[in-house]
Symmetry: C2
Subunit: 107 residues, 2 copies
DNA sequence: TGAAACAAGTTTGTAGCGCAAACCTGTTTT
DNA sequence: AAAACAGGTTTGCGCTACAAACTTGTTTCA
């Protein structure tokens, strides 16, 4: 009898915006804090500046985060917040993943 | 107190070969059967022929599966088997994912 | 004061990827 | 014998991730 795991087609439906590791890392960080600065995000993820910039732009275009530009003293500081849509997308993604992972102990 | 979830950097270390949804689907199917034909794999994953062909080639190049070409009657049939390396990679990937997913009920 | 180093981000350039259309080789049907 | 068909592979293309180079503004040092 063939073991039947998760539906392989479901795997193909994963949200590609979230699925990209760099963006998943970003969303994960944003989900656990109200607002996060560009620099902090860069340090904690280890992404290059260019890379981080383009990924946040993509996430913003998707409506998953919003960019907040402000000044601290006179130097400009860019920060990000996850949006409701972003939080929803992240949770949905995590739910899908959970459904795909086998139950923990495969003999 | 800031909630600290999983290490974001760990997310960036995911095995990209396995992480691609099409290939994850393929590996998942292969992991649950000894040998699987091209056609069956196509039907169950819903991938196009070209797409399936290139992904299996990539997986073979990575050493995660092996291709078995045979004949059934006089028509050629291509089948695949997951290798030990492939199984190991798949399991490792699943382990990483588990570590990244929050514990199930976030308030 | 002015030049030189520095900081925060953004834009540009490039290699690589995923995808399906077109193609190839052989088989079955009419 | 020609035409349709099946199983796969190769080709071509638009998109993506990534870092190097650039931009704009600030601080340091001579």
């Amino acid at each position: 009898m063939p073991k039947n795991g998760p539906d392989p087609r479901a795997i193909l439906d994963l949200d590609r915006i979230v699925h990209e590791p760099a963006r998943l890392a970003i969303l994960t960080v944003l989900a656990s804090a109200e607002e996060v600065s560009f620099l902090f995000l860069q340090r904690v993820t280890g992404l290059s500046k260019g890379n981080l910039s383009s990924h946040t732009q993509k996430l913003e275009a998707a409506g998953y985060l919003e960019t907040v530009k402000a000044f601290q003293g006179r130097i400009p500081v860019t920060s990000f917040r996850i949006t409701e849509d972003g939080r929803t997308a992240l949770r949905a993604y995590q739910q899908q993943l959970r459904a795909l992972l086998p139950k923990e102990g495969k003999p």
